[in-house]
């Protein structure tokens, strides 16, 4: 009898602790990730105190607190907005054009064997070539301003979008296409009702890749040719050994990429409400 009661007591205690444990299980990945970053930043911050450095080395070194201060100043004085605007503009226009061209083209190629056979060699060849080798040509054609950047962003973002859309369209369920056809759907309705919804997961993957390529395009164009933009600020700072400014630029680029990827995730979640959710087995 006594043993039984003891058992009950243990169970009751466990029940009381259960909500806390559940909460921890939900927060654990975030907490561990944040902890890792904080730890790394701390080590970095105190590295100069821990490891003896020569004066020359110190010139190329900076600590998180300096970077944070520089970032703060750039925003407080507003000096960041002009170059950031230039970079963001090239990014947005280039990516936008890539989406406007890549999605319809991917759908057309996926649905038409003739068009696909015609364009496939170009796409394969283009995709196998690193797009950045076109930079000198693009700079020559479009000058050092906005449009050479837009062009390189466009080229970088177009192919992941095009190829993923194409794959998604190819993957469309034949039965479902037949179903909507039997109800009188034409090519446009088939694309709207079956092909595009079916290809959405592929398109989202393409969009995510395209964002990465677009950021890369902006950065590289600004490192090697352009006269304006956040990348140009970084290159100038590097040549003047302002390592904290270089890091500040890097962080802004990283945060921008993260925000964009987060937006895509939001769209994805909204679009995939119809999919079976994983059953949580608590």
């Amino acid at each position: 009898m006594a043993e039984l009661q003891a058992d009950f007591a243990v169970t009751a205690a466990a029940d009381a602790a259960a909500p806390a444990r559940r909460l921890w299980r939900r927060l654990e990945p975030t907490a561990l990730g944040a902890g890792g970053i904080v730890g790394l930043l701390l080590v970095w911050q105190f590295l100069p105190d821990l490891v003896p450095m020569k004066a020359g080395t110190k010139l190329f070194f900076t600590v998180p607190s300096d970077i944070a201060g520089t970032l703060w100043r750039m925003f407080a004085t507003g000096s960041i907005w002009a170059p950031l605007g230039v970079s963001a503009g090239a990014f947005a226009i280039g990516l936008g054009l890539a989406i406007l061209a890549g999605l319809p083209l991917g759908i057309l190629l996926g649905r038409s064997n003739v068009l696909n056979a015609m364009f496939d060699p170009f796409i394969t060849a283009f995709n196998a070539t690193p797009r950045l080798v076109f930079l000198p040509l693009l700079l020559l054609w479009f000058g050092l301003g906005l449009w050479s950047k837009v062009a390189i962003v466009f080229l970088g973002a177009l192919f992941p979008l095009l190829i993923n859309t194409y794959e998604g369209v190819r993957n469309a369920d034949k039965l479902l296409i037949n179903v909507v056809r039997s109800f009188g759907a034409g090519e446009w309705d088939i694309a709207r009702l079956v092909v595009v919804p079916n290809a959405l997961p592929f398109i989202i993957v393409g969009l995510r890749l395209a964002i990465g390529r677009a950021v890369l395009g902006v950065v590289v164009a600004e490192f090697f040719g352009a006269q304006d933009g956040l990348g140009v600020v970084m290159v100038r700072a590097a040549s003047e050994f302002k390592v904290d400014v270089v890091f500040a630029g890097l962080i802004v680029f990283a945060v921008l990429s993260l925000v964009m990827t987060g937006l895509v995730k939001l769209i994805e979640d909204r679009m995939s409400r119809w999919r079976p959710q994983q059953v949580s087995g608590d």
Binding site: L175, V180, S182, F183, G184, A185, L193, W274
Partner: protein
């Protein structure tokens, strides 16, 4: 009555790439009168679904003539609708929007579509599930969505490919009664594929037995049971005689 659907010498061979060709239909014939209820039974793989897909306008036969209402069949049309063997529901659409699919393509206004979908989901016993997605339904429920979707456009001809196969026996019995009611009231022509001889006899004016692949019409039985059909009919001697006859015709075609 003149034949409403008339198929003569229909041949179709599937030629999948990198695989041996499959001759699905060989000189298949059928006549269906307007307003008639005809069932097709036959061994698995004998070309039943293939023939329904041809009538639906999704597959072109290699040879043969198919007339509907005296006109040569050309492509899909809103005068026909199919209840698909594999349901064919759009997974990203709710029950309601799946039922509305054909109406949407016919450009029926949204309010009217909604009303029709509500009436039909009640008819097939899915009231309360209008906003569920297909993955949230059982097999039998999915099949009933497919039935409601086919009824929604009010087609003259209903092509039904094992439409009750995924239903439990009791729901199946109820759906059979409902189908007969819809058929009688709306004066539709029905072509009904099933593996259940009982079901075929109970529902039909005529039952066609198909040969094994390549499928052709082996023999057609007229079902002279009075209408409206009662459930009790299934235990009458006349019913059982028909059942035995059909079974004897069918069993030689079944290869295991």
């Amino acid at each position: 009555m003149a034949a409403y659907i008339q198929a003569r010498n229909v041949n179709l061979t599937f030629r999948p790439p990198n695989r041996a060709p499959v001759r699905a239909l060989g000189n298949f014939d059928i006549d269906v009168a307007e307003g008639e209820f005809v069932s097709i039974v036959g061994p698995s793989g004998c070309g039943k679904s293939t023939f329904l897909n041809i009538l639906l306008g999704l597959i072109k036969p290699d040879s043969g003539d198919i007339l509907m209402h005296g006109k040569k069949l050309s492509g899909p049309g809103t005068d026909r609708a199919m209840v698909f063997q594999d349901f064919g529901l759009l997974p990203w659409r709710t029950v309601e929007h799946n039922i509305e699919l054909g109406l949407e393509l016919k450009k029926v206004p949204a309010a009217k579509r909604r009303a029709i979908a509500a009436r039909l989901s009640a008819l097939v016993g899915l009231a309360g599930f209008e906003h569920h997605y297909p993955h949230e339904l059982s097999g039998g429920m999915k099949q009933r969505v497919g039935l409601a979707r086919a009824l929604a456009t009010d087609p003259d001809v209903l092509l039904m490919d094992e439409p009750f196969a995924a239903l439990d026996a009791q729901t199946r019995d109820l759906m059979q009664v409902e189908l007969l009611r819809v058929w009688r009231e709306a004066k539709k022509t029905v072509l009904f594929v099933t593996h259940q001889i009982d079901e075929a006899i109970y529902l039909s004016d005529r039952v066609m037995v198909m040969s094994k692949r390549p499928g052709r019409a082996k023999k057609t039985f007229a079902i002279d049971l009075p209408r409206p059909r009662e459930y009790e009919m299934r235990v009458t001697p006349q019913f059982n005689e028909l059942k035995l006859e059909i079974w004897n015709t069918l069993k030689d075609e079944i290869v295991v």
